[in-house]
C-alpha cells in the first residue's frame, strides 16, 4: 500500500511535475469538451489541419522573440484564429470541396512553418519541441494563460449550449428559428482554434487531433446524451492527462505520446465493452433488443 502511495507522491515533489499535471488536466478537459462537437460534426480533419497550420505563426514568434513563451502564445493564437476563419470562408465560397481546401491550406501553412524554422541553428530540436509538446516545461505564466483561455472556451460552450446543439444537429431548424447560424459556426471554429493553442505546449501539433477526438469519441460510445457525453469526455481527458504523465515519468517516454496512448487505451476499452455501441456488449444488447422489440 505504502508502495502505491509513494508511486503517486514521489513525482509530486518536483514543481515541473505539479505544473505539468495541472496543465494536462486543464488541456484534457478543454480539448474533450470542444472535441465533443468536433466528433459530432465530423471535423477531425479540420482540427488536425488547424493544429498543423499554427506552425508558421509559432515559427515567426520564435524567430522574433526567441523561446519566451508569452509572445509565442499570442503568435499561435493569431495564426490559429485567422486560419480557422480562412478555412471556414474557403469551404463556403469556392467550388473546391471543403476537405480538399483544408488539405491545401494545411500543407501550405505547415511547409511554411518548417521552412521558417529550418533557418534556425537548432532546427531539429526546435521543431520537435513544437511538434510533440513539452508539458514539463510549462511555467506558471503558461498555466495562467491556459486557465484563462481554456476557461473562456468552456464558458462559451456552456453559455451557448442550446445554440451549438441546434446548429450541429439540425442546421435547417437553426435557420427557421432565425439563429445567426453562420456567426455561431465561425465562433465554434474560433473555439477550436483557441483550444488548440491552449494545448500546444502539452501535446504538441502532431498529436493534437487525438486530444480533440479520442476522449469525445470514447464518451460517445458510452453515453446517449450530449451533456453526459461532454462531462464524461472531460473526465476521460483529464484522467488521461494525469495517468499519461505518470506513465511518462516512470517509463521515461515522451509525455505527449504517453497521454495520447492512454486516451487510445480508454477508447479501445470502450469499443470492446460499451454497453450499447461496443463490439462485445453491444452485440449482446442488440440481440436482446431484437428479441423484444419496443412498440
Amino acid at each position: 500500500m505504502n508502495g502505491l502511495v509513494d508511486i503517486v507522491l514521489a513525482p509530486l515533489q518536483y514543481g515541473f511535475m505539479m505544473r505539468g499535471l495541472a496543465a494536462s488536466v486543464m488541456v484534457g478537459v478543454v480539448c474533450a469538451t470542444v472535441g465533443t462537437y468536433v466528433v459530432l460534426r465530423g471535423m477531425a480533419f479540420f482540427g488536425d489541419a488547424l493544429a498543423h497550420a499554427i506552425l508558421p505563426g509559432v515559427a515567426v514568434g520564435y524567430l522574433v522573440s526567441g523561446v519566451a513563451r508569452g509572445p509565442l502564445f499570442w503568435w499561435a493564437l493569431g495564426t490559429a484564429i485567422l486560419t480557422a476563419l480562412g478555412i471556414g470562408a474557403v469551404g463556403k465560397e469556392t467550388r473546391i470541396k471543403e476537405d480538399t481546401a483544408i488539405g491545401i491550406i494545411f500543407a501550405t501553412m505547415f511547409a511554411l512553418g518548417i521552412a521558417l524554422i529550418s533557418r534556425t541553428q537548432s532546427y531539429a530540436v526546435d521543431l520537435a519541441h513544437f511538434l510533440f509538446g513539452d508539458v514539463l516545461g510549462v511555467s506558471m505564466g503558461d498555466l495562467a494563460l491556459t486557465a484563462g483561455f481554456g476557461g473562456l472556451v468552456i464558458l462559451t460552450i456552456v453559455a451557448l449550449y442550446k445554440e451549438f446543439l441546434v446548429i450541429s444537429f439540425d442546421p435547417i431548424l437553426a435557420s427557421t428559428l432565425r439563429l445567426p447560424s453562420s456567426l455561431l459556426n465561425y465562433l465554434l471554429l474560433v473555439l477550436i482554434a483557441v483550444t488548440i493553442v491552449v494545448s500546444l505546449q502539452t501535446v504538441g501539433i502532431a498529436l493534437m487531433v487525438a486530444m480533440l477526438v479520442t476522449p469525445a469519441a470514447t464518451a460517445y460510445l458510452l453515453t446517449r446524451r450530449l451533456p453526459l457525453m461532454m462531462g464524461l469526455a472531460a473526465l476521460l481527458g483529464a484522467a488521461a492527462g494525469v495517468i499519461g504523465l505518470y506513465v511518462s515519468y516512470y517509463l521515461g517516454i515522451a509525455s505527449g505520446a504517453a497521454i495520447v496512448l492512454v486516451c487510445s487505451a480508454f477508447f479501445l476499452l470502450a469499443v470492446l465493452f460499451a454497453p450499447r455501441r461496443g463490439v462485445l456488449m453491444g452485440r449482446r444488447a442488440r440481440a436482446e433488443s431484437r428479441e423484444a422489440p419496443s412498440a
Binding site: L160, K162, V166, F169, I172, S175, T176, R178, P180, T223
Partner: protein
C-alpha cells in the same frame, strides 16, 4: 408596425390579419446551378392541408426551404402572413428521416425542446414552462413515455411524430413536412393523419410532400402537382387528370388499365424509405 423581439435582438414580424398564411409569387430558385423551381405562384388559406406531389427532383424540398426562408429565391417572393419568411419563427420544416443523424446523443425530449429555442433567447436555459410545454407536445403525439429515449431507438412513425411534437413546441402555424409518410406502415401513417386532423382544428396550415398519389387525393384539401413549375393546384379530381400527370411526371409514371376500367397510377421513381 408592431413587432416582437427576437432572442438576438432582431425583430420578428407580426402577422397581418387579412393576409394569406402563405403566398408565393413567381418564385424561381436555383439549386446547385440548375433551376429547381420555375415561376411558382400559389396562395394557401389558413388551416388548409395541402399535398405536394411530383417526381424526385421536382423541387419539393427546395420549395419548402424557400418557404421556410432557409433558401432565398433567385426571383419572386414568398410572403407568410404578409411578411417575408425570414421575419418569422412560426414556420416549421420537418426533415426527411433519411437526412437526420439518428445516432446523435439527444433524447426525444431534447429534440422537442429545440423547438423552443427561438422563443427562449440567448444565454437562457429552458424554464419550467418550456418543460411543461414539451411534455404537453409529447402527450399530443403519444410519445410521452418515450421522452427519455435516445432518438435512434424510435420506430419510423415515432421519429416522425417526434418532429411534429417539435413543430408544436415551436408553436408553428405553418408546417412543411418533407415526405413524412415514406417508408411508414399503414398504422403509423394513420396515427400521423390523426394528429394532422387535430392540427386542422387549431387552424395550423400543413404542406406535406408525398409520393403517394392515392393518399394525396384522399386525405388532403388540395393537391399541388409540381415538377419545377406548377402543373396544377386544386382539388385532386381536377389536378390528377391523366394528361396533366403524364405531363408532370413524364416517364416516371405508369398508367395501367385495370379490369373495372380505373386507371391505376404507379409512381416508379422511388421505392420506399431511401435510408
Amino acid at each position: 408596425m408592431s413587432e416582437t423581439r427576437s432572442p438576438f435582438g432582431r425583430r420578428h414580424a407580426t402577422h397581418i390579419p387579412d393576409a394569406p398564411i402563405l403566398e408565393a409569387v413567381g418564385v424561381t430558385a436555383r439549386y446547385n446551378g440548375r433551376v429547381a423551381l420555375d415561376n411558382v405562384s400559389f396562395r394557401l388559406t389558413k388551416g388548409e392541408r395541402v399535398a405536394v406531389v411530383g417526381p424526385n427532383g421536382a423541387g419539393k424540398t427546395t420549395l419548402f426551404k424557400v418557404i421556410a426562408g432557409v433558401l432565398a429565391p433567385t426571383q419572386g417572393e414568398v410572403r407568410v402572413a404578409g411578411h417575408g419568411p425570414r421575419g418569422h419563427i412560426c414556420i416549421a420544416y420537418l426533415p426527411q428521416r433519411s437526412e437526420v443523424d439518428w445516432n446523435f446523443p439527444v433524447t426525444v425530449a431534447d429534440v422537442v425542446m429545440m423547438g423552443r429555442i427561438g422563443k427562449m433567447g440567448l444565454l437562457r436555459y429552458p424554464g419550467r414552462q418550456d418543460h411543461a410545454l414539451v411534455r404537453r407536445c409529447l402527450d399530443i403525439v403519444g410519445l410521452a413515455e418515450l421522452a427519455d429515449r435516445q432518438i435512434g431507438e424510435l420506430s419510423g412513425g415515432q421519429q416522425q411524430r417526434m418532429f411534429i411534437a417539435r413543430a408544436l413546441a415551436q408553436e408553428a402555424e405553418l408546417m412543411l413536412m418533407d415526405e413524412p409518410l415514406t417508408g411508414l406502415d399503414v398504422g403509423s401513417q394513420e396515427s400521423i393523419f390523426h394528429i394532422l386532423d387535430a392540427l386542422r382544428e387549431q387552424r395550423v396550415t400543413v404542406m406535406v410532400a408525398t409520393h403517394d398519389l392515392n393518399m394525396a387525393a384522399a386525405r388532403f384539401d388540395r393537391v399541388m402537382l409540381l415538377n419545377r413549375r406548377l402543373f396544377g393546384f386544386g382539388p385532386a379530381a381536377e389536378v390528377f387528370a391523366p394528361d396533366r400527370l403524364r405531363e408532370a411526371y413524364g416517364d416516371n409514371l405508369r398508367f395501367v388499365q385495370s379490369d373495372d376500367g380505373l386507371m391505376v397510377l404507379t409512381d416508379t421513381c422511388c421505392g420506399g424509405d431511401r435510408r
